[in-house]
Assembly symmetry: D3
Amino acid sequence: MNLSHLDESGAARMVDVSEKPVSARTATASGRVLLSEEAVAVLRSGDVPKGDALGVARIAGIMGAKRTPDLVPLCHPIALHGVKVELTVVDSGVDIVARVKTADKTGVEMEALTAVTVAALGLIDMIKAVDPAAVITDVRVEEKTGGKTGVWTRP
Amino acid sequence: MNLSHLDESGAARMVDVSEKPVSARTATASGRVLLSEEAVAVLRSGDVPKGDALGVARIAGIMGAKRTPDLVPLCHPIALHGVKVELTVVDSGVDIVARVKTADKTGVEMEALTAVTVAALGLIDMIKAVDPAAVITDVRVEEKTGGKTGVWTRP
Amino acid sequence: MNLSHLDESGAARMVDVSEKPVSARTATASGRVLLSEEAVAVLRSGDVPKGDALGVARIAGIMGAKRTPDLVPLCHPIALHGVKVELTVVDSGVDIVARVKTADKTGVEMEALTAVTVAALGLIDMIKAVDPAAVITDVRVEEKTGGKTGVWTRP
Amino acid sequence: MNLSHLDESGAARMVDVSEKPVSARTATASGRVLLSEEAVAVLRSGDVPKGDALGVARIAGIMGAKRTPDLVPLCHPIALHGVKVELTVVDSGVDIVARVKTADKTGVEMEALTAVTVAALGLIDMIKAVDPAAVITDVRVEEKTGGKTGVWTRP
Amino acid sequence: MNLSHLDESGAARMVDVSEKPVSARTATASGRVLLSEEAVAVLRSGDVPKGDALGVARIAGIMGAKRTPDLVPLCHPIALHGVKVELTVVDSGVDIVARVKTADKTGVEMEALTAVTVAALGLIDMIKAVDPAAVITDVRVEEKTGGKTGVWTRP
Amino acid sequence: MNLSHLDESGAARMVDVSEKPVSARTATASGRVLLSEEAVAVLRSGDVPKGDALGVARIAGIMGAKRTPDLVPLCHPIALHGVKVELTVVDSGVDIVARVKTADKTGVEMEALTAVTVAALGLIDMIKAVDPAAVITDVRVEEKTGGKTGVWTRP
């Protein structure tokens, strides 16, 4: 069992995908930011501009997906054909779901995970004056389609 | 109760810190990447180049801290005077701790959180061929010092 | 009369500001995106999510200010202590005003102009399906304070 | 009438273009930097290194086109197959024209507009010691070809 | 004899490659960092963490390859399908070889050269406390395949 | 003898400089691009736009200095107060000298070396159609002033 990003000698590399076919690919990732009751109340309150707080986080997530190859050292720079980031206020905080599409030689699960985590960072930055103890949790790939392995769904 | 990054009308802004004094500041954040037993065994095995896998994640985290103002929309671009990212293989995965120092007008908790999450993304990218179901969890600020509020420790 | 970014031989350089004192500085720039009546109606309509369209442009402008030294070849990389970008729907389109603050050795008028133009680009991208003929116009510095020259107001 | 970058609920997204065919596409945008008579004289004078001033602006514009997806939040990252930026000194200032080519799933009008505006910012930065009152004006798409809509020419 | 990045009038441009076919392309570049005997001994010593020093340089090189269009003004932004960077400690310092693969309309020799030079910069930064006099030398393309010109090997 | 960017356990870190005083610092680095006689003739010829070729490389070097912390993994992000890049055509190619100034807690020799190497990459990209065998050589720090160690001159 070995790691594809390391060669036989253990040195890191950007793995060669030149022989892989271009195929339509999607990935969905999710995560949650746990917040205090007070912070959830602020986001839900009609008195405060909750739209903009969630809106900033959403934009951060979409732009974050585009920065994936800058952030993840061995990620291939690839085209992105669509990115959606949804944020939903729930009793314990904010749920985040990111869906990424492409047609390229490698999957986009890292892009989807990056979108979720950067959206979470953007949200925490907006709410940190109210809740300095926010926690990012349960960030994970939910589903991935396309490529040689076809559909993968979280077990 | 309002959000400092939004003005009275609810519009996002980079909040004005020009009147705040420069002070020595630190922030520590932590998080965990949950991995399968098999992935943990790979990282622990003497047969595989675990050093490089964790090393790539560490570098990703340190470089990620420097990209914080590019990723978090309303973060101030600030100087960073020191960044440490530690990764420890544990039975359930890999624990990550990031410590960031500066002397500037705003705190560095977003930089510490960004270091942890980007290190986690870097690690997942390294290990995803072995464990496509990795989960980033419990990413949070542990402690923060400096500035007007002084020492804050997670309750 | 010569250009400060060019040396005696005419070669471009990032001009040496190391002898200049740090001082509080501000700059305000403005501009307008001219839009069709239909596009203005869309932005004003309660039926459409105008908030998010303007919100995306506002975030683009704030983040754009931070990218100024990446975009303008000879700009110094400097700290930014506050950025505000206001967008107002008017009969002929959208007015944009950006205010930038710092305490550093050089002025922030390029940051303010960059904030206005990137906000304008972000807005045009949002509205271009409705109005492909949008025009960015009248982008200019309105006022600048701090530094050796003190207050400069557009004549 | 709605905005393609917003979904039914009004949330921003990077619109899904995965079903669109790759086609050869071009876009031409233009704009002008209005300058004082003195600044125009400096740029025209044989005594000063006007070549470098315009040259810096030209490079800024070309590099700016490549940064479009970093700047415009919902822009797709796409390949660019050619970028030309022309600057012409005229009596009232400097005219800028940018031509961008690609073969991809989305148009390049935002890249052309970004090239013009970043070239304009680069020029203003070069000339601002002589003319602090420069104005960017009339930045707009002139023509666009390729894709489903075919040729679009400014009415 | 003229330079392809300059038009007839001598103005810089990103040359139009839209008519060129996509083809599999590779480039190999090499270089050397000359170091003091003491620095070589440190890198070779079992007492010091030489793995991480070379590992950091290797990651820098791989990530540097991805930043080529941000650094080299007229380079086309292109897909990269594989990047390998090898560092070997030799008596006079460290040899660096970078291999880059793609399938696109332009060659990847600039990406390979950038990988070598950025790896060299990363290495020097790691070793500079021991050897402030390190020298980067002999950075050059060794071989290039694909495209209209086919195989090119350094004479 | 150990490497300052590695802690006791050999893990990479951005070394803590928070206790170091801010001081005026400069660094000068140099290097050479070896070119064919034909390429040198092209750069020297009055018939070709040599100004723009060298001008593009100069801008690449200045902008490259600003990207140092993005490229060199453990470099601190610092202010730059002045950057000059000089290119001189000589019989064997082009000599490059970069001078960087700052007032900060760490030296700027990496910024000077990065300016030289990125200028060299920019030049090679401009001339590669004429000379695909260009070589970057002798890139090194010449002098460094400021900080605890004071003046360092290449022995």
